[in-house]
């Protein structure tokens, strides 16, 4: 079975971003970039399915500037077989991304499409669900366990009160949650080998997708600053402050 894994290039999770001076966006120049952590979990799960003899080919795809190829190479070093890079300088909304991925899926006909549940930059948590709607496929979001049983997929999902298990026919869409697995590190020989794996570059136009603008970002501002707090010297002082100053207990 073929598995398609879309991955996104984002600012590294440990970097604190700042809003730029003219309040139009966050300043990402010269920041360390990486594969979105949830996408990494999706790649790992696909690789494990391959190691278990279930997946036969793993295709990774990324939409973004030329530099996104670094993340595709990383995914290939982790075990993906080939990459598709949709080159665009535009920052696209999740719906547009989903439309592009739907066009890729129309060509690839993957049995399983595995995405991260959200990207840590836009925090949208939309693309997988939107792709499922456009492709007319069932979806299992926020997966913490994925099992392929013949033509069926059994997925345990993290929901607000606990866990839920769903069963659905393949092809299907899965979005990964943190608890699905612990991604491996790329080994040096695999990083070298990944450089020789096939990577196709295509454009949005060549995929036959027409996009429209759905929203405009009017401004990006820093969040409200919290007033500086105080350090208390003892538990007694803390309780006194909470009772008499903050009046919360």
């Amino acid at each position: 079975m073929k598995v398609l894994v879309p991955v996104k290039r984002v600012v590294d999770a440990n970097v604190k971003v700042r809003v730029n001076a003219d309040n139009t966006n966050v300043d990402t120049a010269n920041l360390k970039m990486a594969i979105n952590p949830f996408c990494e979990i999706a790649v790992e799960e696909a690789v494990r399915l391959k190691e278990a003899g279930i997946a036969t080919e793993i295709v990774v795809a990324s939409i973004g500037p030329k530099a996104s190829q670094e993340q595709l190479r990383t995914a290939m070093a982790l075990g993906a077989d080939r990459g598709i890079h949709v080159e665009t300088e535009e920052e696209l909304a999740p719906l547009s991304i989903a439309k592009i991925l739907n066009a890729i899926q129309a060509n690839e006909q993957a049995q399983l499409i595995m995405l991260g549940k959200q990207s840590i930059d836009g925090d949208n948590n939309q693309t997988g669900q939107m792709l499922a709607a456009l492709a007319g496929l069932p979806q299992a979001t926020f997966a913490s366990e994925v099992k392929v049983e013949g033509e069926q997929l059994v997925v345990t999902r993290e929901i607000d009160g606990g866990l839920q298990t769903l069963k659905m026919p393949l092809p299907a869409i899965v979005t990964t949650d943190l608890r699905l697995n612990e991604p491996r590190y790329a080994k040096l020989p695999n990083i070298m080998k990944a450089k020789r794996k096939p990577l196709d570059t295509v454009t949005v136009d060549s995929l036959g997708v027409t996009l429209k603008q759905h929203q405009k970002v009017l401004k990006v501002t820093p969040p409200a600053e919290r007033q500086a707090g105080i350090m208390v010297a003892s538990v007694e002082e803390l309780v006194e402050k909470l009772k008499n100053e903050a009046k919360v207990i």
């Binding site: 925090d123 949208n124 709607a133 979806q139 759905h214 970002v217 803390l238």
Partner: protein, 307 residues
């Protein structure tokens, strides 16, 4: 034009989140309808009728909606969507699962985790784990959005909306297998006025017992950092942060939590933040109103004694 709010409920009870999303809807416009889709969900529908300012409650009661399967719910919502200019749901696990599917079926974008309504087409939402706030204008005819419930105050319960029954049943390929919910006597994490959270420094699942006692004494909920969840100290539905629950209680007590960006994203809108940590350099102290540099195993028992 009218606004549709998708109710958050477990069939028997309407969650407080719904009343908060209705408050957000009222900041957009006045004709607010609530959709209660579920199975044997009469009680939840009755509570929805009482939400102040709600015009009409749409009730879809069928076994196909029992477990909030996204495929089924999204088709139901799309079937009534043409009546509405806005479709809102809480940014809960159900809202986040269903609404993007609805938006794509309608060929419109979605705005996630709205925290402020600027006008009927312009909204504010956090990006980059809350490190920045984006003001976004929707250009679509139907605005589909999830709402961060903690950013709005629940509406009162003195309304008397009319009820309309929807009998369309939609079902797709997804089969419900099972569900395990964590049982807890404590208030719901999202709705609690006090949250006591523990991190990696708690050291073990057993040690969380002292935080449970503290939470119970304050009538609050128990929360945790990702590190504590990953270590298996507590179940993952207690995780507070960018990818877990977003809370904004009156009092948030962070015990043994360093304060990574991803954790702060889930709690920095709390009214009063208390941090207990033995590392004076821990980033949590930068957002804490009251910080105590101490060993939690000495400080928490003492705290229990004094309150």
């Amino acid at each position: 034009m009218a606004i549709l709010v998708i109710a958050e409920h477990d069939n028997a009870t309407l969650k407080l989140d719904t009343a908060k999303v209705v408050a957000c809807a009222q900041a957009v416009g006045s004709e607010v309808d609530v959709l209660v889709a579920g199975h044997n969900c009469g009680a939840a529908a009755d509570s929805a009728k009482q939400l102040a300012g709600v015009r009409q409650v749409l009730v879809a009661d069928s076994a196909v909606y029992a477990n909030a399967i996204a495929e089924n719910l999204s088709q139901l919502i799309v079937s009534v969507a043409s009546e509405y200019q806005h479709i809102l749901a809480a940014a809960s696990s159900v809202g986040k699962d269903v609404l993007p599917r609805v938006a794509a079926l309608l060929d419109v974008a979605q705005i996630s985790e709205v925290v402020e309504v600027v006008s009927e087409d312009t909204f504010v939402r956090p990006i980059y784990a809350g490190s920045a706030m984006a003001t976004v204008q929707s250009l679509d005819a139907i605005k589909v959005m999830t709402v961060r419930a903690s950013a709005f105050d629940a509406v009162a319960q003195d309304g008397s909306a009319s009820v309309q029954t929807l009998d369309n049943e939609y079902s797709g390929d997804v089969e419900f297998v099972s569900q395990t919910l964590s049982e807890s006597e404590r208030p719901d994490l999202g709705a609690a006025s006090v949250v006591v959270s523990g991190g990696r420094a708690m050291g073990s699942a057993e040690n969380f017992a002292i935080l449970e006692q503290l939470a119970d004494k304050l009538g609050g909920a128990l929360g945790a950092s990702r590190a504590a969840v990953d270590a298996g100290y507590v179940p993952n539905d207690l995780q507070v942060g960018q990818t877990g629950k977003i809370v904004a209680p009156d009092l948030y007590i962070a015990v043994g939590i360093s304060g990574a960006i991803q954790h702060l994203a889930g709690m920095k809108d709390s009214k009063v933040i208390v941090a207990i940590n033995k590392d004076p350099e821990a980033p949590i102290f930068q957002v804490a109103d009251y910080g105590l540099e101490a060993d939690l195993f000495e400080a928490v028992p003492k705290l229990l004694e004094l309150i």
